[in-house]
Symmetry: C2
Subunit: 249 residues, 2 copies
DNA sequence: GCTTGACCTTGTCGCAGCGTCAACGTTTCT
DNA sequence: AGAAACGTTGACGCTGCGACAAGGTCAAGC
């Protein structure tokens, strides 16, 4: 038999047979005078076993192991392990499909899919075209994807703030500072009002230490032009101060 | 932000971030004087969206598509397609696990897993140490894995032959011819008795044409030493003759 | 005898999504 | 000042072959 014949007989491609030779899974048969590989029925039987095992789902390495110690014992182990692996994959797929089902249900935001916690928060926030609000939403989305899962509590704690209609005016006052200098007189009062609007529940979620020391806080500040940055820094300082007072009282 | 910071913030590895740069998924940020990449919050937000999408199961190409036209419309299509794909995978896994369950149930043969049809046949065949019988089983296993699924009917048709206790004696007479010449006088009578033992049901499954013309028949013959080959060839010819007589009658 | 087409040969690249060196420069802590 | 922990580019590795390149071989038809 030549390679095309044995491949067709067993139901694999010639390329696969050569691949099995290359990785030492199937021994190279003798050659004819013209250099063609000359296969025997033994080879075909072995190749057929390889095909059966790969069809079940074994990797070529596992096939090699199973063929190596030709007791049937190892096969049992490998199959059991494979079944466990498939069961795990099945669970993973089901979980992902559940996530997908939720996402397909919800209206699609332009920021891509969000966690349910954040989606709920944004749902309750009023519609606005304020750039500062948009930036805030981006920052929340970033925190959402940060992966540590700590965002959920924060989002829940922010719910009263989102429902507070006075926040819109504060956002507009922040927008007005986009081109202002760091010494603008509007900074101090706006920061005070913003800090006052933050509900106490949020304080419990704020991480310890100076806010600008953590990478996240510093990076957020860098995202703002000078006057806005001054406002945000003051708000963060004020909140940190409230955390300290609360911790000692 | 430097690369390690943005990676930790979003929850991916630095290597992944560089990979996204390499494939053009995430634009390269400006560099600091020392050559380090300097990331902004914009980059982090974009990277976070990438992470959310890949976590859902999108390929990087699909992520690129979704980010490209930033309507939410394409995302819906991609997600639906992804869900369909996952559903398909889930079915495949379930089917393979069912196959596995059958295999784990049955006693493990040294020839590896067999189709249920062949396993049933070999279950009903008497135990023997005859080399010819072993070779026969190998050939059947080969046919079993040949993949065209045509083996199942043949195996069912062979059931009476397997249960025929006289077959053992015939196998032994075939074994005795292992070293014999092609002109041995025992060839003709053995071939006749073997052919007679083959039940009529088998004839319906034998493929048309001269048996030695098909690759499989010729190859099987080559697997035998001369005298045994002569026997097998005569049996095949005899069966072909019976097929013809049956077809015309 | 010559061409055509269907085989065969070895060797290499490609695929998805990074992990993991290598070999080297920068920053930072002690 | 030295070490540890960052950063840089570049390249190979993993799975299981498919696809191509650049030929050599063989049977059949003209």
């Amino acid at each position: 038999m030549r390679i095309g014949e044995i491949a067709a007989l067993v139901g694999v491609t010639s390329r696969a047979v050569r691949h099995y030779h290359h990785i030492g899974l199937l021994p190279e048969p003798a050659r004819q005078a013209n250099g063609y590989r000359a296969y025997t029925v033994r080879d075909a039987v072995l190749l057929a076993r390889i095909r059966r095992l790969t069809e079940i789902g074994l990797s070529l390495d596992e096939v090699r192991d199973v063929l190596a110690d030709d007791a049937g014992r190892e096969l049992g182990e490998v199959l059991a392990e494979l079944d466990a692996d498939l069961a795990r994959q099945e669970r993973e797929i089901q979980e992902r499909r559940q996530v997908l089902a939720v996402l397909l249900e919800a209206p699609l935001t332009s920021d891509g899919p969000l966690s349910p916690a954040l989606a709920a928060l944004l749902d309750h926030a009023p519609a606005t075209t304020s750039p500062a609000a948009a930036k805030d939403r981006e920052h929340l989305a970033l925190l959402d994807a940060a992966g540590d899962g700590a965002g959920a509590e924060l989002f829940a704690a922010l719910r009263p703030l989102a429902e507070n209609p006075g926040v819109l005016a504060l956002y507009e006052r922040l927008d007005a500072l986009e081109e202002a200098g760091a010494d603008d007189p509007r900074i101090a009062p706006l920061a005070a009002e913003l800090a006052a609007a933050v509900p106490d529940e949020v304080l419990a979620v704020i991480p310890e230490g100076e806010p600008s020391a953590t990478g996240f806080g510093r990076v957020l500040l860098d995202d703002y032009p000078p006057a806005q940055r001054a406002v945000v820094r003051r708000v963060m300082e004020e909140l940190a101060e409230r955390v300290r007072r609360r911790g000692t009282s």
